[in-house]
Symmetry: D3
Subunit: 317 residues, 6 copies
C-alpha cells in the first residue's frame, strides 16, 4: 500500500496530537488509489427546525481520535483490508439547497466513477439523495434505513428537497427499490395522520421501535437481511435512531431510541451484506454535550467501515 495512505500510528503518536482526520486516516484527494473514501458533507439547509449539522463532519473527525485500530468483535482492521482515506468534505454552498445538492452529487459520481466505496458523515439527511444520485447508475438498489423518522414526506412547507423527503425522492427517481427498502426504529410523532401512507402503499417495510421491543432485535436483523437479499444495497444510519441519552447532539430528537449495544448488535448482524456505501447523517454538535454524539458516530462509523471493507474486498474477488 502506498505509504501516503497509512493511518497515523496510534501506538507512537498520542491520540490528542496532530490534525484530525477520520480515524487518523491519510488526507488525500480522490484518486484511483483508493478503495474506500470517507467524506464529510457539511450541508444542513434541508433542516426545518433545529439546524446545525453542517458542523457534523468536523465534530466526528475530532471525536474519531478515540477509535483505535482493530475492531474487537470482527477482529480485523479495515485499514488492513482496504486502502482507506479521508478525502475531505464534498463542496457545498451556504445559501442554496439546489446548488449544494448538485455539487454533492458530482462529488459522489466521481467516487463512483473511480470504483471507490463511499462512507459519509453528514450533514442533514437530505444528503442521502445526492449521494444515491451519484452512486446509483444501473437501476434501483436496496436500502437499509435506520432512523427515528421515515423521511418519506412529499414536502415540508412546500420544499421537496429537505431532510423529511429524501427516500420518497430516491424511490420516485428510481434510485431505490421500495420493495428492498427497510426502515428500522421509526418512532416519530407525526405532522399528519397520513404521513406514513405513501411509504406503506409503495411496499416499504417500516419497523417501529414498538415492534422491535415486541419481536426482539434478532428477528429484525433476520428480516432485514432477507429484504435486501444478496444484491447491492446502501445503508443510512441517522444518528437520531439512537436514544437521546446516547446521542443528544442531533436536530430532531425523539426520546425512546436504540442503545449503542443494540445498534452494534444490529450492525454486526449485517456482516456479509453487499453494501456499496453508507452514511451517518444528522450529527449536530451544537446540541451535543462534550462531543458525546460525535464519539458515538465515530464508533458506529468504524463499524460501518468494517462492513464496507469486507463487502468491497468481497466484490474485488
Amino acid at each position: 500500500m502506498s505509504p501516503s495512505l497509512t493511518q497515523t500510528d496510534v501506538t507512537v503518536v498520542p491520540r490528542f496530537s496532530n490534525i484530525a482526520t477520520f480515524m487518523r486516516s491519510a488526507h488525500v484527494p480522490l484518486s484511483s488509489e483508493l478503495d474506500i473514501a470517507i467524506s464529510g458533507v457539511p450541508f444542513d439547509l434541508g433542516t426545518a427546525f433545529r439546524i446545525g449539522s453542517r458542523f457534523g463532519p468536523a465534530c466526528v473527525r475530532e471525536q474519531s481520535r478515540h477509535v483505535r485500530r482493530i475492531h474487537q468483535t470482527f477482529g480485523f482492521s479495515p485499514f488492513d483490508l482496504c486502502r482507506v482515506a479521508d478525502v475531505g468534505d464534498a463542496p457545498v454552498r451556504s445559501f442554496s439547497i439546489r446548488d449544494s445538492l448538485a455539487l454533492i452529487e458530482d462529488h459522489f459520481r466521481k467516487i463512483k466513477d473511480l470504483e471507490i466505496t463511499p462512507l459519509t458523515i453528514g450533514g442533514d439527511h437530505t444528503i442521502s439523495l445526492p449521494i444515491l444520485r451519484g452512486i446509483v447508475q444501473h437501476g434501483p438498489i436496496g436500502l437499509i434505513h435506520i432512523d427515528a423518522h421515515s423521511d418519506t414526506l412529499d414536502s415540508i412547507q412546500g420544499e421537496q428537497y429537505c431532510n423529511g423527503t429524501p427516500f420518497r425522492r430516491a424511490v420516485e427517481e428510481g434510485l431505490v427499490d421500495p420493495k428492498r427498502l427497510v426502515q428500522i426504529g421509526i418512532r416519530e410523532t407525526l405532522f399528519d395522520k397520513d404521513d406514513h401512507d405513501w411509504a406503506k402503499a409503495n411496499g416499504i417495510r417500516m419497523i417501529s421501535m414498538n415492534e422491535i421491543d415486541q419481536r426482539g432485535l434478532e428477528a429484525i436483523v433476520e428480516e432485514t437481511r432477507s429484504i435486501v437479499a444478496e444484491r447491492p444495497c446502501y445503508l443510512t444510519l441517522d444518528i437520531d435512531s439512537l436514544d437521546p441519552s446516547v446521542a443528544p447532539g442531533t436536530g430532531a430528537v425523539e426520546p425512546g431510541g436504540f442503545t449503542v449495544r443494540e445498534m452494534e448488535r444490529l450492525l454486526e448482524g449485517l456482516m456479509g451484506v453487499d453494501l456499496i456505501g453508507a452514511d451517518i447523517p444528522e450529527v449536530s454538535p451544537l446540541y451535543d454535550e462534550g462531543g458525546r454524539t460525535g464519539r458515538v458516530a465515530a464508533t458506529l462509523a468504524f463499524d460501518l467501515l468494517c462492513l464496507l471493507a469486507k463487502a468491497h474486498a468481497a466484490r474485488q474477488r
Copy 2:
C-alpha cells in the same frame, strides 16, 4: 371547535417560531370551553436539597416545540378528541409554602368546578397534594405513582408539607385510597430504616426497580391496572423515575431508573384507565443538559395527554 383553541399549525409555522406554550396549544384563561387544561405549577419550596423546579414549566413549554401532532402508537391527536389549552401557571408565592399551597389548591378547584381534566407540569412533588385537594371532592380516588421515591415520610426537618410527604398527607386527608395506590420504580437510598414502614402498613403497593427487573414490565402493568381497577384515579409521574442518563435535570437523582422505552410501554399499557388528571413534577432545568429532560417530559406529557383525552372523552359518552 372554537378557532381560538387551535394549536399553531406545525406544517406551516416553523417550530422555532412564536411564544412557547405547551405543544403550541392556545394560551387562554380557564373557562367552560375547555376539556383539558394544561397548567404549570412553578413551586419548589418543598425541596430540601437541590431546589430549582420552579423553572420546570417554562422549560417544558419551550421543549414541547419538538412534539408534532399525532401520537405514533395511539394513532390519534388529543387535540382532535378534546378542547385542550395552556392556561398558564397556577399562582404561587416566592417565600411561603402555605400561601402557595392554598393558591394552587384554588386553581385546581376552579378546574374541577368547570369539569375540566387537568394535566400539570411541576414544580416539586409537593404540588400533587394541593392538586388532589382541589380536584378530589367525593371520597378517595386511586393513584398511580411512578417515582424513584415513595414520598410518604411524615416530615423532613420538621416540615410536614414538602416533596417527601405529599402522598402520606393525601392518604391522611382522605384524598387517596391507600389500597388503590401503587408506587412504581422505587429505588431511593433511605434516611432511616423505617422510611417505608408507614406506606406498607397502610396497604400501599410499593414496586421497587429491583422487582421490576425480576418480574418484567408487563406483569407490573397488569398488576397496576388491577390495583386501580375501573374507578377514577390520578397519575403522577415524577421525572426522577427515569434514569439520570435520560433525565438528568431533576433534584433528587437516583441512578438506575427507567428508560424512555420502558416508560412509554408502561404508559401505553394504561390506555383505558379512568384517569381524571395527571402531573409531571420535578423537572429542574438548572441540573439539565441542553433541555434534554424538558424534552423527555414534553414527550411523556404528550403520552399522558393522549390517555387523558381518551378518558375524558369516554366520561362524556
Copy 3:
C-alpha cells in the same frame, strides 16, 4: 390604557412564573391600540457560517424575565409612556430566503400602516432590510448602526440577500441615506482588501473600535448625533458589537468589542434622537452560555424601548 395591555405585575407574580413574553408585556395581535410593538424575527438563512439566530427571539423573551419595570438612569418606565405589547414573531419560512423576506416586509408594513413604532429581536442581520422596506415610505432615513461588521458587502458566495449585505441593499434601494449612516464599533477581519471601499465611497461614516479607543466614547456619541441630525432615523444594534466575553451567543464573534457599560453610555447619549424603530439581531443561543447573551440583549432592548417610547411620545405631541 386597555387593561389587556398591562405588563404582568413583577411585585406580585414571581418572575419565574408564566409564559415568557418580552418583559412580561401583553401578548396581543397587531392593532391600532398599540404605540410600540415588540416582534421577534426568527430568520437566520442569511448566515454563511454559524447559523442559529432563529432561536434568538425565544431566548430573549425568556431572559427578559430579569428586567424589572423602571430604568434606573432614565427614571421612568416605557410602559407608563406608551402602549407596548409583544405581537409575537413575524412569519418566516424554514427554507426560503426570498419568501421569508417578503413575509417579514409585510409584517412591518402593517406596523407602519398602524403608526406603531417597532422594536425587533432577530434573527440574523439580514432582517434589517425587510424591516426598513416595511417602515420607510417617504425617502431615505438616517441609520445608527452599531456592529463589529460593516455589512455592506455586495454578496457572499453570490447571495445578495444575506447578513453581510443588508445596508448596501438599503442604501441602493433608497431606504437609508448613506450620508446619515454611521457605523460604530467596526473591527472585523476582512474577506478582501476592498470590503469597505463601497461604504467609504458612498459617504458612510465608519468608526472602528480602534478609533473609539483613541477618541473616547463621548466624542463618538457627539458625532453620531450630528450625523443623524434631528430627523427620523432607525437604530440597529448587532449583539456582536459587544465583546464575546459579554455576549458569546452570536454567530460571527469578533474578540475586542464593547463592554455593557460603554454600550449603555452610548445608548443613553442618544436620548432625544428621533428614533422610528430599532432592532437587536444576531442573538444565537446555541453558542451562548447559560442564557447570558439573551440577558444582555434584553437589558439593551429595555434601553432601546425607553429611547423609542420617548421618541414616540415626542412625535405624538
Copy 4:
C-alpha cells in the same frame, strides 16, 4: 501557632489533592484559638427569583484551591499575620427563613463572643442581617456595601426578611448607622419608582455605576473612606456587583458591573479601614460556567482576608 491551624502546604501537596477547605486552611471548630473564622452560610430562602446560592460555600471552597499563599500587591500572607481557619457552615434549615436566621445569628454571636473576626461566604444577601445581629453589640457600625442592588426595600411579596431588604432591617434595628453606610455600584432596574426613596431619605450614600463611570474609581475610594471614617465598620461585597461576564454565577444578574481589576483597586484602597468582618454573598454555582464565579469570589475573599487580618492585628496592638 498551633500546628493544627496551618494551611496545607501548597509547595508540596498538589492543589487538586485533599478535601477542599477555604484556601486550604485547617478545618476546626470555633474556639478562642482563632483570630479569623471563615464560615459558609448556605442559606438562599430569601431569594424571590433565581434561587441556588445555598451551593455557594461549597463552590467557593472548591475554587479557593487556586489561590496560593502571598498576596502580590500587599506582599504578605494573612496566614502569617493571624490564626485563620475554616469553621464549616453556619447551621441552617431547608424550609424556614426564621429558624435559619436565628441559627445563623447564634453562630455569629459565638464568633463575636470569642473575639474572632468573621469572613463569610453566602448564601443570599439576607444573611448579612443575622451576621450583623450576631456581631454588633454596642451601637450601630459603619457599612461598606458593594452591590448592583440597594437591598433596602421594605418587603418583596410581603416578606420582610429576604435578599431585597437586609440593610433596611439593619438600619431599623440599630445595627448600622445609615450616615456611615455607603452603597457602591448600584445599577438595578427598579420594581417601582420609589424603591430608593427610603435609603436616600435616611442619609444612605448611594453611588451608581453611572456615577463611578463619570467620577472615576479613585474619587469613590476617597469618599468611601471618609464616610465610614476611622471607626469600626463591616464590608459586604455582593458578587453581582461584578459584571456578569466576570461573575455569571449569581441570581440577580445586572449587565454593566465592575471588572475584577476595578474591584481589586477598590479593595486595595480600603487597606487600613477598621473592618470587623466581611461577607461575599450571592455566589450561585447553578448559573455559573466552569466554577468561574466561585474562583473570582475566592480571589476577592483572599483580598478581604488580607484586609481583615491587617485590621484584626491592628486592633490587638
Copy 5:
C-alpha cells in the same frame, strides 16, 4: 463507636451544607480505630490520552452528598456495621509516576498494617497496582475486574506503569492469581491484534460485553463467584465499564457499556464474596456533565461500601 466517627446526620443537616467528605463520613487520620478507610488517589499521570482523573476524588466527595444512609436492597447502613471514615487523599506528586506510585503504596501498606479495609476513589487505573502492592502481603489474591478495557498491555509508548498495564504488572509481581482474575465488560477497540493474547495465555477469564449480551448477566455473576471462589479477593470497577450515556466523565470512553441497573444487579450478586478492598478509578470530571458521573460513582461506591462492610464484619467473627 467513637462519636468522632459518626456521619453528619442527614435528617437534620441539609445535604448542601458543610465540607464534602465521602458520604458525610468523618474526616480523620488513619488509625486503628477504623474498620474501613475511604481514600482518594488523585493520580492521573498514567493516562496516555484524555488526562484529568486527578480531579476524580474531589468530584466524588462532592457528589456523594446525594447518598442517604440505608441501602434499599441490602436494607442496612454500612455505617452501622463498621467504623468508616474518609482519611483524605493518598499523597501523590504532580510530575513523577514513580514517586507517586511509591507514596500511594506506602499509604495502603499503612492501611493494611492497621487491618483496615480500603475503599478507594481514583485517579486513573494505574493506582490499582500500588494499592495491591500495599495490601497484598501473603501470596496472590483473586480479582474481579469490571472494565471496558483489559489493561493488560505490556506498555504504552514504552511506559510500563500506566493505566493500560496495571493488571499485567500485578500478575507478574505475584499480587494477583491470573486463574482467579475475571474481567467483565471488555469492549475496547484494540491498538493491535495481539493486545489480549497475554491475558488469555495466562488464564485470565475475559468476558466481553457481547458475551454478556448473549449469556445474560445472571450467568456472568455465577461464573464470577466461582472464579474468585471463597478466598480473599479485590474488586476494581473502572467507571468506563458503564455506558458513556450513564458515565460520560471518563477518559477512555467506549460506547456500548453497562447500565446502572445492570451494574447494581451485578454488584448485589457479589454479596458474601470475601472482598478485602475495592476501588473505582477513572472518574474524570472535566469530561463530565453536571457532576453526573461522580454521582453514579458515589452510588456504586456506596454499594461497594456495603459489600466491604459485610465482608469486613464477617472476617471479624
Copy 6:
C-alpha cells in the same frame, strides 16, 4: 507562490467546511519552501495543577476557522507577505517530560535550520524552553513575555522543567538576555515571598497589572520597545495574561487580566520589532466555554502572524 501553499478561499468555501488547519493554511511538511511555519505543541506534562493544554492546538485550529484574511488595523494579509503553512504538531510523548522536550527542541531546530520563522500554539508554558533551545543559536536574544505569572521559579515539587520555570532555565542556559526580558501583566498570588527575587536580581523587568493600571498601556508599550531594542527577540503570550472572563480556558486562571482590546493595542504597538518567533501557550479547552478561549487565541495568533510576517519580510530585504 506554490499553489500548494494557498489558504482555502474563504469567499467560496464555507468556513464550517473541510479539515481544520490554522487559519485554513495548507498542511504541509517542513521544507525550505516556507517562510513561516505554524506548529502545535500538545505537551502539558509540565502542569502542576490543572492539566489539559495538550488539547490546545486542536482547539485553536478549529476556532481559527473564524478569522478571515485581512487584518483590519494593519490592512494586509500575512499570507500575501510570506509563504505560511501549518506543519502539524511537534512530536511529543504522553508520559515523559524529558523525551518530549528533546523531541520539541529537534522540531524547532529543523525550523531554524530551514530559516523559517516559527509561530506556535501550546501546550503548557514549558514549551517555550525547547523552542528557544531549538531556534537560538548565536547568543541570547530578547524576550517579550506577556503573562499573569513570572514563570521564573527554580522548581515546583522538585521538578526543574515545568511551566513555572522555563524563563529561569532559558536565562541560565544563555538563550535569553535577562536585561532584554520584559514581563508584562504579572498578577499571580505567590507560593512564597521570594518567588520573584531571582527575576529581579537578574535584571528582568517585571511589570505588574497594577503598574499597568497606574501608568497606562502606552507607557508600557514604549518601555517594552526600548527594553528589547532593535535586535532579535521572541514573543511569548500566555493566554492566561487575559482576564478569565475573556479567556477562561486555561489552567492557572488569575482574575484581573487584560481585555482583548488592550492586548490588541499592545501587540499593534509592537509592529516593527524584530521578532524571530512567537508562541501562545496554555490554551486548555477542557476549562473553556464553547471554544471561546481558542477563538481569542486564534485572533491573537493572527495578530502575531502579521507581526512575524512583517519582521520576516524585513529580514529578507
